[in-house]
Amino acid sequence: MKDICQSVKKKDHDPKIEGRSVYVDDYNVTASGKPILCGRLLHSPYAKARVLSVSVPELPEGYFWVDRSDIPGDNNVNIVLDDTPVFCRETVEYIGEPVGMLAGPDEKTVEELLGQVRVDYEELEPMLDLRNGTETFFNYEFGHGDIHRAFAEADKVYEEEFFTGYQDQTYLEPQGMMAEPEADGRMFVHGSLQCPYYVHGAVARAMGTGPDGVHILQDVTGGGFGGKEDFPSILGCQVAVAAKKAGQPVRCVYNRREDLEFTPKRHPALSIYKVAVKDGRVTAVDAAIRFDAGAYSTLSAVVLQRGIIAAPGVYDIPNVHVTGKAVKTNTVPCGAYRGFGAPQTFFAMEMMMDHIAQDLGEDSIEFKQRHFAKQGDMTSTQGRYHFPVPIPAMLSELDEMSDVIRKHKEYAKPQSGRYRRGIGFSAIFHGAGFTGSGERDMIKATAKLRKYADGTVEVLASNGDIGQGVRTTFPKIVAHELNIPLERVYYNHPDTARVPDSGPTVASRSLMIVGELLRRAAIKLRDIWQEGKEQEVEEHYKEPDFMIPFYLDRFEGDAYPTYAWAVSAVEVEVDTYTGLVKIPGAYGVFDVGTPVDYNIVVGQMEGGFLQGLGYASIEKMSYDGKGRIRNNSFTDYLVPTSMDVPNLVAKMHVEEYPDGPYGAKGAGELPLVAPPAAYLEAVEQALGGMHKHRLHTIPFSTEDVILELNKEAL
């Protein structure tokens, strides 16, 4: 392993473990010395309704009601499009949509007053049907080859539907933002967030101030996983509007129930696959993907793009046709969650491959192996896998750990008795960085280093540490290049007043893209280093020249410069009496390129892996016929505990990426994406295989196991 891989003590370790880190809910005082008002939102109780009138009780002094009429700028939150309002317009479009905010000094009084706000609604018929919904925010279509001919010439055509449910990010710190009017007239907004410049753009627009009228700071953030990518922009606007009206700091922290019910989560997806097979080989994939976007478009465009690009999986398939729709429903807007659309389609494609293999009487691992893409092969968007595709080697490493190849054949034999075993295998990639030309055309990242006279160096970038460790890894890269002790390089939580826009903290891009900018900046600084002088250097993103330009209108070209890879094996033991599924072993081999800090990367892999297993099994969340999410507490939305998957093993495989720092690629999202299909394949195998029980849906719970077995009895 390279030196840079050696783990160091994380820069934020001490304050966090000592309980000294200040999360947004922990502030007692503000810079202005003014007390902080507590803001609570009034949420719509209806999935679709016209707001006829709002009557606010007489408020005691110091209490404020805030709604869209108080917005100084415009009532559209800047996300990808601008259809999301800060506060509801004439109608409410989902249960939970903020109608207004009540703010005041005492939380209990605020709650009481909020209960006295009367809203007259005229209930309207909500749209709650992902399958048949006709209103779509985004419609994409792409492909290559001759799909019609492939199907016409096929020996056999397979058609199946797959469904994946909601998944909530369940960062342990709920959403929270705070706004403080400053003496110079600027609005200072800070809180639990991933992307300071996203919030900056949104708040500046809502406040009508232009970019200099606001600045945004990321506070210590208790987890994000994508959930704090778009939502803080909305909440940030709301507290800013309230603070402006009150002339005083306002903070709004969601409670867990609000957070589970009313904040973005992973898009439920219906994936309809049609696959042609000729001479034992898949010749065509035609996938129709529908994502449940919820009531506003928020991030659905980009989530859907990543999802449909992954639709044919890690395989070399000559003829491909994919359509993707982001369907509007009157439910909470879905957003970003680790994997960003890809978990849904990879799950479907992996299950599809497994089912086809079973039908052909071939072991599905061998069948998949025969289809793995190789370096130089064409991607789904007619780009290229420019670098080696290490999946075959990773499968061997996985097999050494898990014995998956032998077990997969053994468990395929008929089983009887109460407890039955299965093992599943899946292989996936994560396209590293933004999809398409986003980095080049939209983000245009800039990062800086500032060296002070005392020889310390500050990293200036806008990527937030949300637990993934960039406060440690960024300085590590810089210290390494400058050959100075790590103690002399530091990276504070970004404030847009001080740092350039190095882009958002998303897509596993921070380390690969911004880390590389910092590496180059450090080399620059090294070359001009003068003792005792304050110096600054800056670096801008440059697209690697090997890339085939990507055209979003046609989905053509290199959607990503390179790929991180993962293979996983999940073994299960199913109790056919109770439906309980034990996981005796869960194994993953991950290629994120060079791990810039081994422990940090392993921590990402293990954490993501467990989230993936949760997604596949116990994390059930859905809405009812009225559009209400009932799984809105920690009693009803279950995530894994320390006792659920004790035997989880993550190993690294290193395929260096020449344009990432020291060979690093994106890491964070990768580990979540592989386990769901491996899990469901394993459960299906334990239940006797596809011919007895053909499974299509995650999460697949203990209850689902029993209901599925009951079908056999019928």
Partner: protein
């Protein structure tokens, strides 16, 4: 009327508010113990766990009146101890702290495991931490850190 008298991190304290007030809120708002985090207020995540008479309890599920005559320790009181040092070191060694929000509660859960059983098995550690949700790590690093701390801190517990 008398207040509620208890020991908070070694200091005798008297609370004059309502006996039905939630310990979690009082610790954060009245006594500024911000290490105590609110993750759910339903006893389902462990982020607010504290030690009461040396025993791990979720502070969201405790009313102030119950504490009369009892002793509460939060991370603010625990962080000066030799045991803390060993645990902190072990957590650091494995980069077991990610977002940090679960960590104060997790740390006290670890203390609770080791004070009951200085040489726990992995299973016992997992059991002992099972009420503390961590969404970041997948738990391996934390569990291993506690096991390492048990070795490194032999004799302390």
């Amino acid at each position: 009327m008398n207040g509620i008298t208890f020991t908070l991190n070694g200091k005798t304290t008297c609370y004059d508010g309502s006996a039905t007030d939630r310990l979690l809120d009082v610790l954060r708002d009245t006594y500024d113990m911000k290490s105590v985090k609110c993750g759910c207020k339903e006893g389902e995540c462990g982020a607010c766990a504290v030690l009461i008479d040396g025993v791990l309890v979720n502070s969201c599920c405790v009313a102030m009146g119950a504490l009369d005559g009892h002793e509460i320790v939060t991370v603010e009181g625990y962080r000066g101890t030799a045991r803390f040092e060993v645990l902190s070191e072990a957590f650091a060694e494995l980069s077991a702290v990610q977002c940090g929000f679960c960590i104060p509660g997790m740390l006290l859960a670890a203390e609770s495991v080791l004070s009951k059983n200085p040489h726990p098995t992995e299973k016992q550690v997992r059991e002992g931490l099972s009420g503390n949700i961590c969404r970041c790590t997948g738990y391996n690093a934390i569990v291993n850190a506690v096991l390492n701390a048990a070795k490194e801190g032999d004799g302390l517990w």
